[in-house]
Symmetry: C2
Subunit: 152 residues, 2 copies
């Protein structure tokens, strides 16, 4: 079964190279693709946070893995790809919750999107309080170590 998607928007920011860390203060403009009417953003400024689904278009097919040590760090355990958020994954989908700073016609400005300049965006959803995780969140110890400079 093949599923064919088209980008609904694209990113503009100062991050031109694929690197791992320092995403917290990145400001990104997201502009609608030509085939999406401006009305698709109507009222978006009423939300403080958005979920952005994007496509890691710079990932070559032959770097996709199904398991491995996160970031190749020998101090971390072997984990399946669906227990990691790394880009080299089947379907190359990225997902990040961002703060919405501004809405101006066919563009929005967001903070903290971990996607480089020119990344194809596949969907944008508003964060509802009612969709936040229910119950306490548990994660293995390596996550906090891996993430220590991510949002710097």
């Amino acid at each position: 079964m093949n599923i064919t998607l088209q980008p609904i928007a694209t990113t503009t920011n100062y991050r031109k190279e694929v690197t791992d860390d320092l995403w917290g203060n990145v400001i990104t403009e997201i502009t609608l693709a030509e085939h999406i009417p401006t009305e698709a953003f109507a009222g978006i400024e009423l939300f403080s946070h958005l979920e952005i689904i994007f496509y890691f278009d710079k990932v070559p097919d032959d770097t996709i893995v199904y398991s491995g040590r996160p970031r190749g760090n020998p101090a971390y355990p072997l984990m399946g790809i669906f227990c990691q958020r790394k880009k080299d994954r089947p379907n190359k989908l990225g997902l990040c919750t961002v703060q919405l700073l501004a809405h101006n016609g066919r563009s929005i400005t967001v903070k903290g999107l971990d996607a480089i300049d020119g990344t194809p965006i596949l969907d944008i959803k508003p964060v509802f309080n009612e969709f936040l995780p229910k119950g306490a969140i548990h994660q293995p110890e390596w996550v906090a170590d891996l993430m220590k400079n991510y949002w710097e």
Copy 2:
């Protein structure tokens, strides 16, 4: 630009019809597609919550909208599609955070996935505390009203 994806897994649960509410106690088994090796789930039981990106495969192309009143309710304001989470959207992508109940080889069991039986899954990501929304969340008043029976 066309992006072609393949489902990495599929759902099994008792929800056979497309309906809006009552998803909170739905238990779903997610089973890896044949082309994904079992190692892709290795260690997933170390996480309590997962983000599931799926494909609303029952949505006909001609029901996709770019704006409208949520659920067609005249009491709600007109909102762009990227200010709503409804299924009739460009690229037909769904996104839900679930609780992981069990892992058994090529299958996981999750609670609270708002997808019917047989839904194609496109990606699974672990919830990291560090990826939760930063700062207070604001949303318009209609959201709480729309969501009042969603997780019953």
